[in-house]
Amino acid sequence: MNLVLVAEQTLNGLQLGVMLFLLAAGLTLVFGIMNLVNLAHGALYMVGAYLAAYFYQTTGSFALGVLLGLAGTLVVGIVVELVALRTLYERDHLDQVLATFGLILFFNELIAILWGRSAIYSTLPPYLTGHVELIGSLRYPLYRLVIIGVGLAVAVLLWFVVSRTRLGMLIRAGASNRAMVAALGINIRRLYTIVFGFGAALAGLAGLLAGPIFSVQPGMGELILIQVFVVIVIGGIGSIRGAFAGALIVGMVDTLGRAFLKPALSAIISPAAGDAAGPALASMLIYLLMAAVLAFRPEGLFPSRGS
């Protein structure tokens, strides 16, 4: 276990963390403001990945692919909100869970019809491939650094929008008292649509960034969605600050656990124990962490104010 490996895995953890944050931010906003449990958030992540890969292939420009993919996911999100989710705001969580579960089946199958069931590989343009020399002998893929940069930039932008602009003020007001906001003459339905589209675009962004490193296939959204739930539960539902902290914690714990738990167990107990328990424990680690956090702080680390 050398220092370079630790540094590399820490960066990997950071990269997974910002990816989880992009998804968690949208989900937690939608929940905090509209009180909607949206399981189909993972489907939007998948749609983003597919659209970007498709547009990159047809236009030949990566930047154009990203832009069109982002815009496409935004449109899909707004359509889903207008057609299906609007009627769900007043329903209980059970109905929301089931209806959005139905949407997941629908989207996964739709994608399978359009692009087939097997994974497609989305590539990177030449200027994003290659490695960067960091401190010492650590060489890290450029694209993963770009993901970290984009994720952190979005986090700052999101903080700015929510706490410093008029739209952000409306969002916060809508979260704490929607009847009052409506009474003050704000079109709350339009606000909901904007917020949902916003969240969808963030999920799409995560998806299109993830495309070139993970495989792009139907059902890809659900694998990461459940990790995002863990993030939100740890961070506190409805809180963007919590989503950010939770995402980084989960990203780090998951990545470092997978990398170092097996050798650590082998060294401390025995190689046999490491082989047997290492992978199993590593894949359960974030859920155990969630249980531990809930045992001490049932509302999560950063409970949102108001509720």
Binding site: F31, A84, H93, L94, G102, L105, F107, L110, I226, A280
Partner: protein
């Protein structure tokens, strides 16, 4: 309700007469899932606890049978007893954390813990890991019941289903059940009359998990095969949908819902009357049907039966 059970009881001789053993298999599957749905309805319908992780107990029950069988223990009493006991223990562990929360937290926590067990199943290579494992011998009941005989297995499942329908009906209308429903309807008032919701909810959660564990043991015997997919989160979603489709918090609902969903899947996948594009992408239509049922048919199939109002 009685009419449905009589109809189910008459299936094996009729199927034998028509030489259609397939329907016996399909209906046995329906009844096993009905048992799981009954257990979920207990906490979801009557207790108001939206468990999105009920497939966990299905998996634990199945793995109890599979793991014991793997080590050469085929005694059904022992296997099924351990299936129920292990499910109850896990339900107690998950419940002790999740039942203290409510609403969205409860949904996400139950989902996350089930996913944890799913990954545990995937990563244990000794018991098949991702690929699952075959059950070489079905559970043995010392010559009393032979599960390899389709009709005998069918009647055993039928008997357990009938018993569970009766038990859940009795439980819901007992003092315990009434307190449980009270915690769903108004927690503050329940507290005000001096009852703490937590032990009642936790007890219901454990009972429900244990019942579902038995369904898992039955399912392992039904398929003679088990994989971590039994615990997949989509399976939990299907169980929830069965409860909703059948009619939440009704006695007959889980049975009707299980029958409705599994027969619908069978029709969408297999009926030669339907064009090929329906078979190939049946999940697309299932998804749309699911959304429509949730949005527009809240009372479920049980609402169609005479005199079967939501009994709370």
């Amino acid at each position: 309700m009685v009419a449905i059970l009589l109809l189910l009881a008459a299936v094996p001789p009729v199927a034998a007469l028509l030489h259609e053993p397939f329907y016996l298999d399909l209906l046995r599957r329906v009844m096993i899932f009905a048992i799981a749905a009954i257990s979920l309805n207990l906490i979801l319908g009557y207790g108001g606890m939206v468990s999105f992780g009920h497939a966990a107990y299905l998996g634990i029950g199945a793995y109890a049978v599979g793991v014991l069988s793997h080590h050469g223990i085929d005694n059904g009493w022992l296997q099924w007893g351990i299936a129920i006991g292990a499910s109850a223990l896990v339900a107690a562990a998950i419940g002790s954390i999740s039942v203290r929360t409510s609403g969205i937290y409860f949904i996400m926590i139950t989902l996350a813990f089930t996913q944890m067990l799913y990954y545990l199943g995937v990563s244990i290579a000794k018991y098949g890991g991702d690929d699952g494992m075959r059950l070489n011998v079905r559970s043995q009941f010392s010559g009393l019941i032979d599960l390899n005989d389709p009709a005998e297995f069918y009647y055993l499942v039928f008997a357990i289903l009938s018993l569970f329908l009766y038990l859940s009906h009795r439980l819901v209308n007992s003092r315990f059940g009434l307190v449980l429903q009270a915690t769903r309807l108004n927690e503050a008032r329940t507290r005000a009359i001096g009852l703490s919701p937590y032990p009642y909810r936790l007890a219901a959660f454990v009972i429900s998990g244990a019942m579902c564990g038995l369904a898992g043991a039955l399912l392992a015997n039904q398929t003679s095969f088990l994989t971590p997919e039994f615990m997949n989160w989509t399976r939990s979603g299907e169980l929830m949908f069965m409860v909703i489709l059948g009619g939440i918090a009704t006695t007959a609902g889980p049975l009707l819902g299980a029958a409705g969903l599994l027969l619908l899947e069978d029709v969408l996948q297999g009926w030669s009357v339907l064009p090929k594009w329906v078979h190939e992408h049946w999940q697309l239509y299932l998804g749309v049907i699911l959304v429509l049922v949730v949005l527009y048919a809240k009372r479920g199939l049980a609402g169609l039966l005479p005199g079967n109002e939501r009994d709370d």
